[in-house]
Symmetry: C2
Subunit: 249 residues, 2 copies
């Protein structure tokens, strides 16, 4: 049922604050939507603690299984920011002061403000490529197919644009949503038939509550518009038969 | 640095809609906060697609590595809801109509409304224990240490209360937050010293932007209030020295 596209990625969210529930992760959704738009499908997301061993083991697995890995979190100046040194160890390369990053931050801060804490942020895996940060100066970095971004959502988001030329995606994954004033059980059988006749379209069914009313969003995803259109027609057909109302959503 | 508590859990979010970025997962945070309150620490979260093989492999790994596993998603009536059958296969037990669940839904719906689609929701692993659903009838279920909950956040949340007696946690994990009008680099060195002197407290440092101003929240987590208090005093000390303002957050 689920479709394998040629280019895929994993997202690795690093941070105790997500696992404790204190912070709601929103980076997954931001990165996934952006990746979809450039033809990369997210296969898996993992959230792990700020724990060196766990980062190393998880990263070494994900970077082999996926075309790309995106990490968020743990690249700031405090003791719990251990992503850069862990990535260095995962790749077995030196963790050292990055000259270019040093120059960027030296120029970014007022004289005297580029203190010891901030200088910690320019320590990276040897020869890492920088990911520029238009919001707050301190760059992220990439090593091979692993891209390390900060955890603060607004900063992270502002850095994605700069990655466009570094990621080679497949066909963009197209999607179409049909929202209905119905419940899933009313359409389940018909939808199964449509799925069986359209194996290459990923058809999702998602119940929602909105403005006090129940509904279902059907989401069609494929790389081919013609496949989505075909699937859409078949769904519109059974909706009409069942006299189910289409709603905005 | 990170502390191992005696009782831990993994959360397994099942659903293409999270991986595509269409839907923002909020269940992780809800479950994690609830688990913390009953003394269970979340070790790891994974988000995987509605893919039988992937569900089986991931579940069989997580249920061995953790005291508890909580899954969300994929237990509705449509073709993409394959969690129950996948869990059955993961445990190598029969997937069959659950008599008790059948009776619950038969009573829940108006005569004639308990149709084929809805009846799909009472197929579960043989002898699964039900997790009652006060919101919309259809129960979740548990097998051994694996608890399967729906993906719709409001429904999922309403079912957690019923699990309290089934989960045996350790000491509740206590936390204390100190929010400061500063930037991380100003406090990084002092905080490292405090962490080194308080190995059993997990100290997190989280920058925030609020009302146009930068700040940092320091979060202290431990099972022991005395350890948190001790750590807190040391932090208040260096804050005073540095003349950093404490803010509400």
């Amino acid at each position: 049922m689920s479709k394998n596209t040629k280019v895929n990625a994993a997202i690795l969210i690093i941070g105790n604050e997500i696992l404790s529930g204190r912070t709601q992760d929103t980076n997954t959704s931001t990165i996934a939507i952006w990746l979809n738009s450039i033809g990369v499908k997210v296969n898996e997301v993992r959230v792990i603690p700020d724990d060196e061993k766990k980062i190393i083991v998880t990263l070494n697995l994900l970077r082999k299984e996926n075309n790309y890995v995106f990490t968020t979190g743990g690249i700031g100046p405090t003791h719990d920011d251990i992503t850069a040194q862990s990535v260095s160890k995962a790749f077995g390369i030196k963790y050292e002061l990055h000259e270019e990053a040093f120059k960027i931050l030296e120029a970014y801060y007022q004289p005297g403000e580029f203190n010891e804490g901030r200088q910690r942020m320019v320590w990276m895996p040897e020869n890492a490529e920088l990911i520029l940060n238009p919001t707050s100066g301190a760059p992220g970095f990439s090593v091979e197919n692993v891209f390390c971004l900060p955890g603060v959502p607004s900063i992270m988001k502002s850095m994605l644009g700069g990655l466009k030329n570094k990621i080679v995606g497949g066909e963009p994954i197209l999607s179409h949503t049909i929202s209905l004033r119905t419940v899933e059980s009313e359409i389940a059988n018909s939808l199964t038939k449509v799925q069986n006749q359209n194996k290459d379209v990923e058809i999702g069914s998602y119940p929602f509550f909105h403005a006090g009313k129940l509904g279902v969003s059907i989401v069609l995803r494929s790389e081919k518009q013609s496949e989505i259109d075909n699937c859409n027609s078949q769904i519109l057909e059974f909706i009409k038969e069942k006299k189910i109302e289409i709603v905005d959503r």
